[in-house]
């Protein structure tokens, strides 16, 4: 990770290297503490079930952080993340690994690169989908 990436390295359709995450209940507690989001659906099983959920679920913002890492690991220290958009489509539960993935879908003449990004489970279900805009330095 953190190798420099340049505009010349990018081609339309190319895949962003996958980042695998293994969320646990402990991570949800750590994230609650670090983010200040103490909504009980993320750590109290009874509370979550009384709210119609299958169990405690990942914070949407934690999934957002996984997708941010997908991009920052890829673009390295010289790239810039300009825009990051996510929509939560499905719930993710601790104990179930998730894969952050993406690909390049537009390269503008001004050097802006647009990407599709998503989180998927082993079975291919996409629980979070989104888009990102990045800029990279040129080798020239």
């Amino acid at each position: 990770m953190n190798q420099n990436l340049y505009l010349e390295d990018i081609s339309n359709g190319m895949e962003i290297p996958t980042v695998k995450k293994d969320p646990t209940t402990q991570q949800l507690v750590k994230y609650a503490g670090a983010s200040g989001d103490f909504y009980q659906i993320h750590y109290d099983m009874d509370y979550a079930k009384n709210n119609g959920l299958p169990g405690v679920i990942l914070h949407g913002a934690l999934k957002n952080a996984f997708l941010a890492q997908l991009l920052t690991d890829w673009i390295g220290p010289l790239g810039k993340l300009n825009k990051l958009e996510v929509q939560y489509r499905g719930m993710d539960l601790p104990g179930v690994p998730v894969y952050a993935k993406g690909n390049v879908n537009e390269i503008s003449s001004d050097g802006t690169i647009k990407c599709e990004i998503w989180l998927e489970k082993e079975d291919g279900e996409k629980t979070t989908v989104g888009k990102a805009v990045i800029t990279l330095p040129s080798k020239n």
């Binding site: 990770m1 953190n2 995450k21 991570q27 750590k30 994230y31 503490g33 670090a34 983010s35 200040g36 989001d37 909504y39 659906i41 079930k49 009384n50 709210n51 119609g52 914070h59 949407g60 913002a61 934690l62 957002n64 952080a65 996984f66 941010a68 890492q69 991009l71 920052t72 690991d73 220290p77 810039k80 993340l81 300009n82 825009k83 990051l84 958009e85 996510v86 929509q87 939560y88 989104g130």
Partner: protein
Amino acid sequence: MAGENIPQDLKNAIGIESSPLDNDIEKGAIKRFAEAIEDSNPIYTDESYAKKLNYRSVVAPPTFLRSVLTNPLPENIKSPYSAVVDGGSVWEYFEPVCAGDIITTKTKLQDVFDRDGRLGNMIFIIRITSYTNQNSELVATQTTTSITYEPKEN
């Protein structure tokens, strides 16, 4: 009819903005956040590495601003439904955020609408938070969608 489930107080509040709140961005808070999201990028924890890349200090991860406080909107601006899920967010980034910065936040109620779905009638609350640093530079904005609903009896 669309919107009939939305209280008038909530509809009238569209456009209301919270009072600004200053937040000190602490190195330890950035480190704890990076640990919580399990992102080992040294730019979040290694100050000399961050300085070599011309940052003032360690850099905050892109979604760190989620942990920064904002003043709440007035008490009456809330959904009549008791449960809420996070529908998603849109971040726009303009300048880096580093340890030592002072970030001023303001949150505006941008839109409210309702829709029927899997959880019954759902009221969507769209808020936009702006983050400005000590040099009066707008560093980022985050637009969030909260989906509120009334849980059914099990």
